[in-house]
């Protein structure tokens, strides 16, 4: 009953969106304010309908309504309430619904808050957005409907995949979707503004905050995903160049490139076409990522041809590309950059190089992810491209990128004097050079490690000294003593960027820790000990416990470091009533500098336990970088461009 309400609400949302597009287009071409208002109201109504539909599915999960196929496949009666609510996006159909919910929510928000301020372009912008809505809603009422029935209903559901019963995995998909949908908005603004025939850049300032927030959520989503993989999958790492991971990395890379290059347009009125192309690419890659992860194409190209959702996604991607490029073709002369050249030693040039590096990385990831699929689909050859491929290309590009990150901080627009360069870069560069060479010669470090750590050190130095300069400068300008918080809350745009870049440095230092990692697999009998580097691990015995809806068979290990007791570790096998196979629950003894990570590989018949042990130095730096991203984004968001303030007054 409630589920039927959800389905019909979804159907209504689809029809309303169709109507909104129709009314919007007629309104635009007949120049009728009434029709456009009617389209706006239809967008608001769409949001309400999608919300209703989302609630009805959630209630279906709460009441364990197994007549619904999606619920029967992703939930069970014994599932904790929290996971029942989050199981809504535990599968393809529900996550499309969540995506649609966010998209209609954002569309409604744009209509409510922007329709007066950007009166001329808003009808175009929301029409562009609602094309994606129409596609998603079409999938949701048809091929991948979360409301499809299954009769007769099974007595018990198959349960939520235990791997997804983890807080990290609960917030990872919504965060990524927020990022994807978020990047849809600058895309819609850019396209809408072109379509409306506006040559001004008002869309850039209007979407600045949307872009920042979207970038933040994409980043957050990937960190949560990496952390989930680390604590849940039991292989000791957080990134494996898996196609599913790559799918989220690609739009992040191009989105980050855009975040930088758009500043060149804002400040110097250049790279106009480039920015629009980056937005098209980012939006397309976010759809492509969903296609790759969700269409079944990864299991087998042949399995994919049987599903309908895959081809539908491909058609949609083709449609985005054709329409976008058609629009670019119809608006020649809109992208002319002003005359005058910028020197090599300028922010313009360094941002361009930064973009080339980001795109090089994105292309590498795209190639490595898609090529095996193409090879199988076209030539029926099965092959795999593995981590060494990605590492051997991404790592050098990354080293260059981090080096650029340091340099760019001290470059000016147009040009930079040699004096400035010497003053700001001479000491850090020489010190870094000495460290890189020294670490390779004296410590026999791998050259990759030396360069990566060296560049992180260099960038960290420059970024930190710029941050200090920003704090000092304000003291000079403003000799009167002001409150502490007033001082902290100044120069927000610059500091926001610097803090985020400092986070990148911290994260890269975390990556460097991988070069010092340790892994081993061995078997211990009760009361047997094993020495691993400074650690001593003793197998005390085994125990069984009930944890939420799972029964854990754990081995009790005592961890000592240099003879001092540190922790009791209990890696386990978790048995879920709805699953035939046990899951691995890892145990981690975590300190800022290093993690001691144990997973139980097998509990053997003779009472012995086979363990996988990893020592992961610096891994917590990777997670800690998130704090910098949060604070930095907060600063950057608080900044209001002066042009925007003027616009609002006028």
């Amino acid at each position: 009953m409630i589920i039927d309400i959800g389905y019909y609400a979804m159907l209504a949302a689809f029809l309303l969106t169709g109507y909104a597009i129709f009314a919007g287009l007629s309104g635009i071409y007949k120049n009728s304010a009434n029709l456009i208002d009617s389209a706006y109201r239809a967008h608001l109504a769409t949001f309400i309908m999608v919300l209703l539909s989302y609630f009805s599915l959630s209630i279906g999960f709460l009441t364990s309504d197994f007549t619904v196929k999606f619920i029967a496949n992703n939930s069970s009666t014994d599932l904790p309430i929290f996971y029942k609510l989050t199981a809504v996006w535990g599968g393809l159909e529900g996550s499309l619904l969540l995506w649609q919910l966010l998209l209609s929510g954002f569309t409604a928000a744009l209509v409510l808050f922007y329709k007066k301020q950007h009166k001329e372009i808003m009808p175009f912008v929301v029409t562009v957005l609602s094309l994606t809505s129409l596609f998603l809603l079409f999938m949701l009422i048809g091929w991948s409907s979360p409301f499809a029935k299954m009769l007769p209903a099974p007595g018990e559901g198959r349960g939520l995949n235990p791997l997804l019963q983890n807080p990290g995995m609960v917030f990872h998909p919504p965060s990524l979707y927020l990022g994807y949908v978020g990047f849809n908005i600058p895309f819609a603004f850019a396209m809408g503004s072109l379509w409306a025939g506006r040559q001004s850049d008002e869309w850039i300032l209007a979407t600045r905050r949307w872009t920042l927030v979207s970038w933040f959520f994409l980043t957050l989503g990937m960190i949560l995903g990496g952390h989930w993989a680390y604590v849940e999958l039991g292989w000791g790492g957080y990134w494996a160049w898996d196609p599913v991971e790559n799918a989220s990395l690609m739009p992040w890379l191009t989105g980050t490139a855009y975040l930088h290059s758009v500043i060149v347009q804002e400040k110097r009125n250049r790279l106009k076409l480039w920015n629009v192309l980056l937005l098209i690419t980012t939006f397309t890659l976010s759809i492509l990522g969903t296609f790759i992860t969700r269409s079944g194409v990864l299991n087998s190209v042949h399995a994919f041809s049987k599903s309908n959702i895959g081809p539908a996604f491909l058609v949609f991607i083709a449609l985005i590309l054709v329409l976008s490029f058609l629009l670019l073709y119809l608006r020649p002369g809109y992208f002319k950059d002003p005359e005058g050249k910028a020197s090599i030693m300028s922010k313009e040039s360094s941002f361009l190089l930064n973009n080339v590096l980001f795109l090089g990385m994105a292309f590498t990831v795209l190639y490595g992810t898609v090529f095996p699929l193409l090879a199988e689909g076209l030539f029926d050859k099965k092959l795999s491209i593995q981590a060494p491929f990605f590492n051997s290309i991404i790592l050098p590009l990354g080293v260059l990128l981090i080096f650029m990150m340091g340099i760019t901080q001290v470059l000016g627009w147009k040009t930079t004097t040699n004096k400035m360069l010497q003053k700001n870069l001479a000491i850090p560069s020489l010190t870094t050079l000495a460290l890189v060479v020294g670490s390779m010669v004296a410590l026999a470090w791998d050259w990759q490690l030396s360069f990566l750590a060296g560049m992180a050190f260099f960038a960290g130095w420059v970024v930190l000294s710029e941050l200090i300069k920003s704090i000092r400068a304000q003291r000079l300008h403003n000799p009167k003593p002001t409150g502490f918080w007033v001082k902290v809350w100044q120069d927000k745009r610059k500091r926001g960027g610097l803090i985020i870049h400092l986070g990148v440095v911290v994260m890269v230092l975390g990556f460097c820790g991988n070069f010092f990692g340790y892994e081993d697999a061995f078997t211990l009998y009760p009361n047997q000990s094993k020495q691993i580097r400074d650690y001593q691990l003793t197998y005390k015995g085994s125990s069984e416990r009930q944890v939420l809806n799972a029964r854990h068979l754990a081995v009790d290990l005592e961890l000592k470091k240099k003879g001092v007791y540190k922790a009791e570790l209990r890696p386990a096998k978790a048995f879920y009533p709805t699953r035939p196979e046990p899951m691995t629950e890892v145990a981690i003894y975590s300190t800022l500098i290093s993690d001691f990570y144990v997973s139980l590989a097998s509990y053997n018949d003779d009472g012995s336990a086979t363990l996988n042990v990893y020592i992961n130095p610096m891994v917590n730096f990777v997670w800690a970088s998130l704090a910098f991203y949060i604070i930095g984004t907060f600063y950057a968001l608080a900044y209001r461009p002066t042009q925007l303030k003027k616009q609002e007054k006028a």
């Binding site: 299991n299 090089g360 795999s384 491929f389 590989a601 996988n612």
Partner: protein, 144 residues
Amino acid sequence: MNKRNKKFVFGGLLLVAIALGLFASISSDNMTYYHTPSEIINQPDKFLNKKIRIMGLIEAGSVTWKPQETQLSFRISEDSPHFLKINYTGSKPDMFKEGQGVVVEGQLTQPGLVVASKLLVKHSEEYKTKEQQNKNSYYQSMAQ
């Protein structure tokens, strides 16, 4: 086009060409084709001492697991009477059991014996029931 621009275009093309060449060589070095056990058994000379990646199903009754030495040995096939013996040192993966599909990466040290450095168990829930009916499609599901 003036002389200066020509220089830039030429230089740019040269750089792109070098980058693409590097890219192609790195990607072909790191591409591994999947093989079937019978391919390996039938052409031992071609694969001897080479790094290979094989898909197969674990033969019933062939698994021995010595926890003390963390030695796992088993045989794999692809629905045929030809078996390839696998020796692996490391822990036994979660879903490892008879009849399950695995991907093995390692070296063919002598005809019919692979010393594995990597062992992946492929588990796709949708295929559990179809497995018996259609091993061929099961196969295709294993390589991602």
